[in-house]
Symmetry: C2
Subunit: 471 residues, 2 copies
């Protein structure tokens, strides 16, 4: 109740501020403070995760999420468009595995292995398949053991580098592991493997499997799964004692592409309404959890931007466009659809922001702007300094998945910088749930995204183009 | 190789020490050092967990473990006896649950709940049952809502007190939660509940369910499961929005009691061979994991005691008896069988030790001896001080499950004191696996158990009786 009153009072107090210079410190501070007092984003996140649950592309959950987000944005008074996206439709099936033979096995015993199918995985026969497991550490070792691969199940036992993630390099640590998950199945398939396993790419050891995308296509589809770190280590240890044989059952289905949508909600600009500032997160999640951090916080944060500005009755010069992307996880078809629809007027895409690193504590902003544009951001960083989010980091390339094509065409990208040290503990596992999100950090998240969106939508200075196109 | 040589050299050096006062500092130090250089216990733990896997009473894994431990002890030259124990035989079946109705549910959606059946749980019909869920925090609230219980699924949403566990009170923290798991199903059943759920009793949140025993009997058997902390919180949140309905499928079987064994391996004493010092752990585990910490480290530690003393060619005055107990987890029938066989000569049970708090770093010894006996332990604590395990804590009651009847009859109990701050993260979950055990901590564990066993087996002073009988 107090929160609502405070926001209402802010609205009334700010009525005069609309006419003031749009990017003055008072307005930026007002936006930050309003976001820090609002539970709107957390409530949207709770609705998305608690009421709907998982939202994998093509699933009933994804469809319900499109409706829920669109309805919430309409309720705010935003201009809502559903942009059609044809998405891959992969459905998880049974998934079990047992080690049925290994040196030292007591007669009659088998060992259960905990695993989960990877996106795009093919199916085994319904009764499973039995094959030897060969354990490798990298692609070179795989190639060196090509003769053993045919008919075998290949396991990449690559440890996630949590120490690297702890040093603030969670993204690169993830990249080092996820390339085996993404490319490994295709390469193993082309070498004649009967199946593919990867040690889960993530940093906590609670015998939970981390799913994720693969580069598999119809031409090379084989059964592919992530095993838990514990089971990967077990198989590696048993392999040192002698040959290991596994019975593997995976029955996912690769169905025809399904109809889905990006949810687009505009807060129309005033004198520069045709120029667009995108603020976004992705609405689809993996199917094992409710995707609170990946990427519920990104979508809720972007929704929170519109709510914050609406509550303050602030009208931006450029249009601020909230997008809840569809299909980031296993195809990025949503990002491709938006780019295709806008590539002929790409200069009208002034800037684009995606939050997709979870709801950890934000400490600043990452941007792919020209070096000479960096100085323009001093006012917004000053406004964010009181909440500990005043670090501006420029890079030539930001690389948010749904925005990659825009960035390639020169649209400067922005991303909240957040603490990701525990992000990959839960990433793509059943444990990515609402309780992992701290409401105060989500408020900070909305404060960062709102203040920056407003600033971008009103800035006078030229922003230039993303450096990535200049190379 | 170095380790073997060192042990051989220790043997040769110790040949003269056998005749020396048995509890002199040199011999105690020699035992500690030999244990700290040996991989024997870790190798036994690896064999037990990696080669066999889970060892629930009545399972093929438990039978294989009896054989494996007996064979290893015979190989050491110990006198091995298999003591028959009739054990409960409970077998896990399918276990799934979905929230099929709740306020705000999008049409056609249901939410998956992650849970695992509790030991002794009854079964639902094969197709499951559907019932409202009522969420309570304690027995008083359950009683206050008696009218709602009939035909409902009762959920105890009680948060594990990790902060208490972090303060070194993991056992009491566990007790505060586990009483709802143990007694709750019976009480709910007697009040007419259709099913019982408890929030997992444990301190880490990775959406893993912690199983455990219940007090259910044939007269009151209902379906009973542990839900993950995340799912318990989800149901509690949804309950605040309105009524919640669950479809629950649990198909475990309660089979007739099965034949099993305690494995008893004696290192016979010299002049006081009829007096027994028990050193033990329990061989059975829950069925979800390989029971590395619960209680593989206890059994491996006890096996390590015999190996350490054998390797040094040390002959104790009293008989040191390694026991790998059967059925600690869901019946403590092994402890009962041993007590029944020895109760008429209970004074011959000089002392008994069980390690059942996992393989965390040991810092000392816990003992239920008379206050006046405490001073006798100075030499053994001095020997353990260099490995950081010199803390002696006396209590009137130690309470190791398999030794409870012995203690009640006056046998002084001993237990290694270990760091348990993360023990309940993994306890009774699929994640209690070999990788969680630090080999160096296991060596320290063996050092503590070996040094103390030897000391007890040779002590001249009267030990007295456990204070528990004096009350």
């Amino acid at each position: 109740m107090k929160t609502v009153l405070t926001v209402l009072m802010s609205c009334m107090l700010s009525a005069g501020a609309i006419a003031a210079p749009a990017n003055d410190p008072a307005t930026l501070g007002q936006i930050r403070d309003a976001a820090m007092k609002s539970d709107y984003a957390y409530e949207r996140l709770a609705d998305m995760t608690d009421l709907i649950g998982p939202r994998l592309s093509g699933s009933p959950g994804a469809a319900a999420a499109v409706e829920q987000v669109a309805a919430a944005m309409r309720k705010l008074g935003a201009t809502v468009t559903l942009q059609p996206v044809k998405v891959p439709h992969w459905v998880r099936g049974a998934e079990t595995a047992e080690l049925v033979d290994y040196a030292g096995r007591p007669a009659g015993l088998s060992q259960r292995v905990v695993l989960t199918a990877l996106g795009g995985s093919g199916a085994t026969p319904a009764a499973g398949l039995t094959a030897p497991v060969i354990v490798v550490r990298d692609f070179d070792e795989l190639k060196a053991r090509a003769a053993e691969v045919k008919g075998a199940i290949v396991l990449f036992d690559v440890k996630f580098d949590q120490e690297m993630a702890d040093r603030g390099l969670a993204g690169p640590a993830y990249g080092n592991g996820s390339r085996y998950r993404t490319l490994g199945p295709k390469i193993a398939s082309q070498m004649g493997a009967a199946g593919f396993l990867v040690r889960s790419v993530g940093g906590a050891d609670f015998r939970i499997a981390h799913t994720g995308a693969t580069a598999l296509s119809e031409a090379d589809r084989i059964p592919a799964a992530a095993v838990t770190a514990e089971d990967s280590m077990l198989i590696a240890r048993l392999s040192k004692r002698g040959p290991v044989k596994m019975h593997l059952t995976l029955t996912p289905q690769n169905l025809p592409d399904a109809d889905s949508f990006n949810v687009i909600a505009d807060l129309p600009g005033t004198d520069k309404a045709d120029e667009i500032v995108v603020v976004s997160g992705h609405l689809d999640s993996w199917d094992l959890a409710t995707g609170a951090n990946d990427d519920g916080t990104g979508v809720a944060g972007a929704m929170g931007v519109l709510q914050t500005l609406k509550a303050l009755n602030l009208k931006p010069r450029r249009t601020i466009r909230m997008i809840a992307w569809m299909n980031e996880e296993n195809g990025t078809r949503g990002g491709a659809a938006y780019h295709a629809a806008n590539k002929d007027s790409i200069l009208k895409q002034f800037a684009a922001m995606e939050s997709d690193s979870g709801g950890g504590r934000p400490f600043g902003i990452l941007a792919s702007v020209e070096a000479k544009a960096e100085k323009h951001f001093a006012p917004v960083m000053a406004a964010l300094q009181p909440i500990g989010a005043g670090v501006f980091t420029r890079r030539d390339h930001v690389g948010a998945a749904d925005l990659a094509l825009l960035e390639k065409d020169g649209v400067p990208l922005f991303q909240p910088q957040v603490d990701t040290s525990t992000y990959f503990h839960y990433h793509h596992t059943p444990a990515d749930t609402l309780d992992k999100v701290d409401p105060e950090n989500l408020r900070r998240h909305v404060a960062v995204m709102s203040t920056l969106s407003w600033y971008l939508a009103n800035m006078e200075q030229p922003l230039g183009r993303a450096p990535v196109v200049e190379k």
